[in-house]
């Protein structure tokens, strides 16, 4: 446990001291500020628009940031050979990976908290209350980040940052539409081959099984209309996310344990 925490703390410290991280967070917060101006220009819809665009920005920036950091994470240590000085120490490879992941999770917690706070302060400026469902929505964005980070780490454990980033973004896109993909059943129009469409439909449904169901973490409609989430929804979505992240990390650890560091 101690080794995991040491790696996690160092990863967190590295990210926090990285100027790119600070710049991205500052930019995202600035963009949220712009939302306030845009919302103010829309008649009677400013609060709804701000909720919608605000949550979209928090979610998208968080996802892209964790893909960027996650995809570079392990690769950078291997490429720069830093890992050569760590793995020969009394630490298991899976502990190293888990430490890296927890470091990113801590960093992303800071990022989501900063953006969530910026969003809440805009509500305060509009004299609108920051509802409980809003807090739940921000929490679910964080759970989504945990899932995407684990997937990025999985790809980062065996491929280059570019490929890891692309694969993660691909899985992220599929995951966002997983609920719709699971229902895909294409019907052939005249002149089309139904067999081909059946294969395509099956592939789409297969992808929805492979990718994490990220649609669970987008509860913007509830926030916009200030409606309570169904009972147990947050706990269920959190459990699902944590299990998917654990699966991705387990697979990453397996691949990592067999790898030669040439």
């Amino acid at each position: 446990m101690r080794q995991i925490l040491v790696i996690a703390l160092n990863t967190f410290r590295e990210a926090i001291r990285n100027r790119i991280f600070a710049s991205i967070v500052a930019f995202a917060v600035g963009l949220l500020g712009l939302t306030l101006a845009v919302s103010a220009a829309s008649l009677h819809e400013e609060v709804r628009l701000m909720k919608d665009v605000g949550l979209f920005l928090v979610s998208t920036f968080s996802a892209f940031l964790c893909v960027f950091v996650g995809a570079n994470l392990v690769y950078k240590d291997i490429e720069r050979k830093t890992i050569y000085t760590i793995l020969p120490k009394p630490i298991h490879r899976w502990q190293f990976l888990l430490g890296k992941y927890l470091g990113v999770a801590a960093m992303m917690a800071v990022q989501v908290t900063i953006m969530g706070t910026a969003l809440a302060s805009q509500f305060w400026l509009l004299e609108e209350r920051f509802s409980f469902v809003m807090v739940q929505a921000v929490w679910l964005i964080y759970v989504e980040v945990l899932v995407v980070s684990a997937v990025a780490l999985l790809f980062s454990s065996f491929s280059t940052p570019f490929l890891s980033g692309m694969l993660t973004l691909g899985l992220f896109a599929v995951g966002r539409f997983a609920d719709r993909l699971a229902e895909v059943r294409l019907k052939a129009d005249a002149g089309e081959d139904q067999a081909v469409l059946d294969v395509a439909s099956a592939a789409a449904r297969g992808l929805s099984w492979l990718a994490p169901d990220l649609s669970l973490y987008n509860v913007t409609p509830y926030v916009v209309y200030d409606t309570a989430l169904p009972a147990g929804f947050v706990a269920q979505a959190t459990t699902s996310g944590v299990l998917y992240a654990a699966l991705a990390l387990g697979l990453a650890a397996l691949l990592f344990s067999r790898r030669d560091f040439i």
């Binding site: 050979k81 000085t85 793995l87």
Partner: protein
């Protein structure tokens, strides 16, 4: 002191499977090798040697000889294709904490987390060992002074010179006061003064009863501090033994320097001579003939300046083995 080897390898081998088909499981068993598509490279072939406790052991070889691959296998970074190794009396087992707690390692051309300052850096590595925060701080201060970085405590590693990075790398290898220290090219990138400091440090480790196993191709350094060396070429062990035995004192003959000889006297001595100012240099191949030659030179009116047994340098042996492979 326990007399069993602190490190031993037996028939250790590593074959890399390269090319896009090389990643296919089971490929390495197939007897095919096509460059760029499915290529097998034998980096280490049946290496066997042992390192005794308390000695400084030099692991030599030209570039591509398999030194770093061997060290990485010992450090659990690469899985051997065949053979076995023991470290501190136990079979090589990556992740074996008890074993790892007693070993220090510096990789070749190390690169570290640049955002850390020296104390944070050593605290990070110390944190991977069962050491208290107080122990880590004390040890870090000691080591930073020892490697000459006591003046750079506030400087992040990104601002370090190459030599400073090498020094702090050695400090991290010693943070746990290891019994066995494995250093891959520790003198690489250092100026003569830096190399001397590292040599002194390695020698100090030996004085403290620690064992040092290091690879290098700076032969002068190896010759000065190693008890024994192994020379590997193309993944195979070519020479192994104490420096004194390998360099074979007298094997290159004995140099006799004589002054005051006239030209007819030089010819009468019947050995090729090289004029060095007013003196002449002769090389007597047979050690048993040296006394007779010296007497003859003195009888011919010469003045004896020096008699020096010639020896092959480690470099001679190294070059010979590298060319012969």
């Amino acid at each position: 002191m326990d007399s069993s080897p602190i490190l031993s390898v037996s028939d250790l081998a590593k074959t890399f499977s390269l090319g896009f088909l090389g990643a296919v499981p089971g490929f390495r068993r197939l007897p095919i090798s096509v460059k760029g598509i499915a290529q097998r490279v034998e980096a280490v072939r049946g290496l066997s040697f042992a390192v005794e406790p308390g000695e400084i052991f030099g692991f030599l070889g030209p570039n591509g000889a398999g030194k770093t691959t061997t060290i990485k296998m010992l450090m659990g970074l690469i899985r051997p294709s065949a053979g076995s190794a023991t470290l501190l009396g136990h079979a090589l087992e990556p992740g074996n904490r008890r074993q790892r707690e007693r070993i220090g390692y510096l990789p070749e051309q190390p690169y570290f987390y640049e955002h850390l300052r020296p104390m944070e850096f050593l605290d990070f590595y110390g944190g991977l060992f069962p050491m208290t925060a107080q122990e880590r701080r004390r040890r870090a201060r000691e080591l930073l002074d020892r490697v000459g970085l006591g003046h750079a405590l506030d400087r992040p590693i990104r601002k370090f010179s190459k030599g400073m990075v090498q020094r702090i790398g050695i400090a991290q290898a010693l943070i746990n006061a290891p019994e066995l220290v494995i250093l891959d090219e520790p003198m690489s990138g250092l100026d003569p003064l830096g190399r001397k400091e590292i040599r002194d440090l390695i020698f100090d480790l030996k004085q403290q009863g620690r064992t040092v196993f290091f690879s290098s191709h700076i032969l002068q350094d190896v010759e000065q501090i190693c008890d024994r060396v192994a020379i590997v070429v193309k993944g195979r062990l070519r020479r192994l033994g104490p420096i004194g035995e390998l360099v074979e004192v007298g094997a290159q003959g004995t140099e006799v320097l004589v002054g005051g000889l006239q030209a007819p006297a030089v010819e009468a001595l019947r050995l090729p001579a090289t004029a060095l100012g007013a003196a002449h240099r002769f090389v007597v191949a047979d050690p048993a003939a040296v006394d007779g030659f010296v007497r003859a030179a003195l009888d011919a009116g010469g003045r004896l300046i020096s008699v020096t047994p010639q020896r092959r340098s480690l470099e001679d042996i190294f070059v010979e083995e590298a060319r012969g492979a």
